[in-house]
């Protein structure tokens, strides 16, 4: 039960990052079709971020605290929970809102992005930062998983 959930959380997060990268690339051009696709990509990215929040949140509250956290804390890399996971679970809360800012920004700027380069640059800042922070969360997730795996290896050996 727990593995599909964490896999779903990670996959949705990675899909979200991919959507924001896609939007970033589309914004290099000011053509109507590029702007339309950039907006669609951001909308999908926001949906994936909220879905990742739900999947990860359910896993965290229902399984992580009772089944994973104590094992990591007893393992060779307790900082994987004490520093990395604690930071990840809170910084993650920024992301859906930064995603909403990026989506709202692109809705407001609308067709202005086709001829105003500054508007496109602002949108690129917004979507690019969400992509980078989301990728950072994936890296933190890798560290937490590594901490858990190392703890399990210690128990097994």
């Amino acid at each position: 039960m727990t593995f599909p959930l964490i896999g779903l959380h990670a996959s949705l997060g990675e899909l979200a990052a991919l959507m924001f990268v896609w939007s970033f690339i589309e914004l290099f051009s000011g053509a109507d079709s590029n702007i339309r696709r950039a907006k669609l990509a951001v909308l999908l990215g926001v949906v994936f971020l909220f879905a990742a929040w739900l999947a990860g949140g359910f896993y965290y509250v229902e399984f992580y605290g009772s089944g994973v956290k104590p094992i990591i804390k007893e393992g060779p890399f307790p900082w994987a929970h004490k520093v990395v996971m604690e930071t990840k679970e809170h910084v993650f809360l920024f992301l859906p809102f930064l995603g909403l800012l990026a989506y709202g920004l692109m809705q407001r700027l609308g067709s202005m992005m086709t001829h105003d380069r500054r508007s496109r640059v602002a949108a690129m800042y917004a979507v690019g930062s969400v992509a980078i922070i989301t990728a950072g969360m994936a890296f933190f997730g890798f560290l937490v998983s590594s901490g858990f795996r190392a703890a399990l290896e210690q128990i097994a050996l």
């Binding site: 965290y60 004490k82 679970e89 910084v91 809360l93 800012l101 989506y103 640059v121 917004a126």
Partner: protein, 99 residues
């Protein structure tokens, strides 16, 4: 989302980022704060998320009609700086209390 000015969404992001950073530190340093949050929804992290949603939309509604500047890059850059500083604050806090 079209009803909100970009300024309103930027202010809402600032509010959420600093709410999360401050409540996270407060909850670690004062057990009653963590207990209060857990009492709201059953888990302190869930409460932080739900309160963040309420804060975001409350602030966005309050400033919804605020006029946006011609160039919004500064607003977005400000939010990014806030996000990076908020993340560093949380990371350094956990580093310090565990060292």
């Amino acid at each position: 989302m079209n009803r909100f000015s970009i300024k309103a969404l930027a202010y809402a992001c600032h509010a959420v980022i600093w709410f999360v950073a401050i409540i996270t530190i407060a909850a670690e340093l004062a057990e009653p704060v963590k207990g209060f949050l857990a009492g709201l929804t059953g888990h302190h992290w869930t409460a932080k998320g739900i309160i963040s949603l309420v804060i975001f939309f409350t602030v966005a509604f309050i400033f919804a009609k605020k006029k946006d500047p011609g160039d919004v890059t500064g607003l977005i850059r400000g939010v990014l700086i806030s996000a990076v500083l908020g993340a560093i604050t949380i990371f350094v806090f956990y580093l310090l209390i565990n060292s």
